[in-house]
């Protein structure tokens, strides 16, 4: 560590450039991870707030709640407990006088069922009648207020916003909570249909009818339109970035080590154990990478402060820890490549003449 720190302090420009490179790589990886996670969250935020484990949709709906229409006849075959709730989804365009149009996801639910009970109101109250709706906070940031009369399509008339709720997004659109009756109207279906599907917060929830297909929430989420494609794209971008970072860091450390071989040969001639030199190289790589990560994280935090509120950027501690660990591991692997050269450095080379 002594040699590692002394060299970094003395060769500020050289090591500053390497730290700068790690800063840029970690900054890019952090921002991309934040965007990936933020976007993923906006697909599923509403579902996460329910703590739901399973969902049942009609067998012909291709695992999509929006495409699922469950008849009352099918519903009769199923006995629900307090852990289940009926739900119906419909894509709508919300519009109030003097406010911008907003594309949203309408979710019809029954009062008293567990989804209704789980909803957390940030202002106002939960809907108590069919003409009342609870909407995501993003409505508020777009200028909507409590009491605004909102139309949700060509049919159905006006609905009054009686409350706002936080983190209510589904398929990257704000959610409007209302009744299943309103859902039927907006979906243009008759009262023969009970709901779109059933959500359960029990992990052992399973239906015995062939009309309905039970999915784990993770399966359902992966089938959300665009969700898997987005995540796969981001995952590959981050993975490629990590691999490229590893190669670049490894090359830099290799070149640096090669430049230091004459010094290492002197130290070996003087009897300094090879272990000290190997420890120096690895600890130096760790110092550089940790330094770069800390600055990269600070830069990311500063970026978050100046980004527009609507940008889907969010951070998750296990994900960040994983990314940080990956970059750290990259640095150590890069430093390990020249270890063999250090172990075989020839002190004879510095005794000339």
């Amino acid at each position: 560590m002594f040699l590692a720190l002394k060299e970094i302090r003395h060769e500020k420009l050289r090591y500053g450039l390497i730290v700068g490179m790690v800063v840029l790589v970690s900054y890019l990886v952090f921002v991309l991870s934040g965007l990936a996670y933020g976007l993923a969250q906006q697909n599923t935020q509403a579902i996460a707030t329910w703590d739901a484990q399973k969902i049942a949709v009609t067998s012909d709906a291709n695992d999509s709640l929006a495409q699922s229409l469950m008849t009352k006849q099918t519903a009769k075959k199923v006995t629900l407990t307090s852990h289940e709730a009926y739900i119906g989804q419909a894509g709508v365009v919300a519009k109030a006088k003097g406010q911008p149009k907003l594309s949203a996801q309408f979710l019809g639910i029954n009062r008293g069922e567990f989804i209704y009970r789980k909803l957390i109101v940030t202002s106002g109250h939960k809907p108590t009648t069919a003409r009342q709706i609870l909407v995501d906070d993003s409505f508020k940031t777009n200028g909507y207020h409590l009491g605004d009369k909102v139309s949700l399509g060509a049919t159905g008339g006006k609905f009054k916003i009686v409350g706002f709720t936080h983190n209510a997004k589904l398929s990257v659109a704000p959610v409007v909570y209302g009744t299943l009756g309103t859902w039927r109207t907006l979906s243009h279906v008759t009262s023969d249909f009970k709901a779109g599907g059933i959500v359960s917060n029990r992990s052992d929830f399973k239906l015995k009818t062939s009309d309905l297909k039970t999915l784990a929430m993770s399966q359902f989420i992966n089938k959300l339109p665009g969700y898997s494609a987005q995540n796969t794209t981001f995952t590959f971008m981050i993975a490629f970035l990590m691999v490229i970072a590893m190669v670049v860091i490894a090359v830099f450390l290799y070149i640096l080590t090669m430049q230091k071989l004459p010094n290492y040969a002197v130290l070996r001639a003087q009897g300094i154990p090879a272990k000290v030199l190997v420890t120096t190289t690895i600890s130096q790589a760790l110092i550089l990478v940790v330094g770069g990560l800390v600055i990269g994280a600070a830069l990311t935090a500063a970026t978050v402060l100046v980004l527009p509120a609507g940008l889907p950027m969010s951070f998750n501690l296990p994900l960040l820890a994983g990314v940080t660990g990956g970059i750290l591991l990259t640095g150590v692997l890069g430093a390990l490549i020249p270890v063999r050269i250090i172990l075989h450095v020839d002190p004879v080379s510095v005794i000339g003449g």
Binding site: F2, H10, A269, Q270, V350, I351, G352, G353
Partner: protein, 223 residues
């Protein structure tokens, strides 16, 4: 018992028709309290002699003993430890670590060998003797050739070895400094009972030597 003994040492490089014999049946003894000079031109085998004497290379034939310890019987780590504890090298080139200040060159020795080094007072006295007491905060890149050489001498002496192997220690020094270094090596040998071996082609050092060996085409003779 001699501090350093080379008995019938030969060193060959290469194979078959490319084989070169650099040292031929060399016999050498360095006593504690004496300066032994090995004088020879470039290519005579001086450096190979020094690396074998210091346990950096192994001879093709013959025996090397540091005090009563045969170097052939020591493996990697034990040889490193022996070099660190018993042998100080004064190297001709690249002999200081460029990113360590003069003071840090000594601190590094303390880090890997915490005991048996010179005390702060002894080091201050040594630096004063060498005329480099005011350079402790300087880096090697800020020193002249002569100053670098004197710091390298101090660095080798700092670990208080029994044997000092010097490779052209006066190569970059003017005549006045050669006298200072020569006298210092001589005093060290006498006052601290060190065995000092100097390989050089600088005949000005002869007046400080107790024994002088000549080396030519790998053969060593006592002059």
């Amino acid at each position: 018992m001699p501090a350093l003994t080379l008995a019938h040492v030969s060193k060959q490089f290469g194979h078959d028709t490319n084989q070169v014999t650099v040292l031929k049946d060399v016999n050498f003894e360095a006593e504690a309290g004496q300066v032994s000079l090995v004088i020879g031109p470039s290519g005579s085998g001086k450096s190979t002699f020094l690396t074998i004497a210091g346990g950096i290379q192994t001879p093709t034939a013959g025996e090397v003993h540091v005090q009563d310890q045969s170097l052939q019987q020591l493996e990697g780590k034990a040889r490193d430890a022996l070099r660190l504890n018993k042998i100080g090298f004064i190297l001709q080139a690249y002999n200081l670590i460029p990113y360590l200040s003069v003071q840090d060159q000594f601190t590094l020795v303390d880090r890997v060998k915490p005991h048996g080094n010179l005390t702060a007072a002894q080091l201050a006295n040594l630096l004063d003797q060498l005329g480099i007491a005011n350079l402790t905060k300087q880096y090697p890149g800020e020193l002249s050739g002569g100053q670098t050489q004197r710091v390298a001498i101090a660095r080798a002496l700092y670990q208080n070895p029994d044997i000092i192997l010097a490779d052209e220690p006066t190569a970059a020094l003017d005549s006045d400094r050669v006298k200072v270094v020569g006298q210092l090596l001589h005093d060290l040998a006498k006052q601290h009972n060190k065995a000092i071996v100097v390989v050089t082609h600088d005949l000005r050092l002869q007046e400080f030597a107790d024994k002088t060996y000549a080396i030519m085409d790998g053969r060593m003779t006592l002059a």
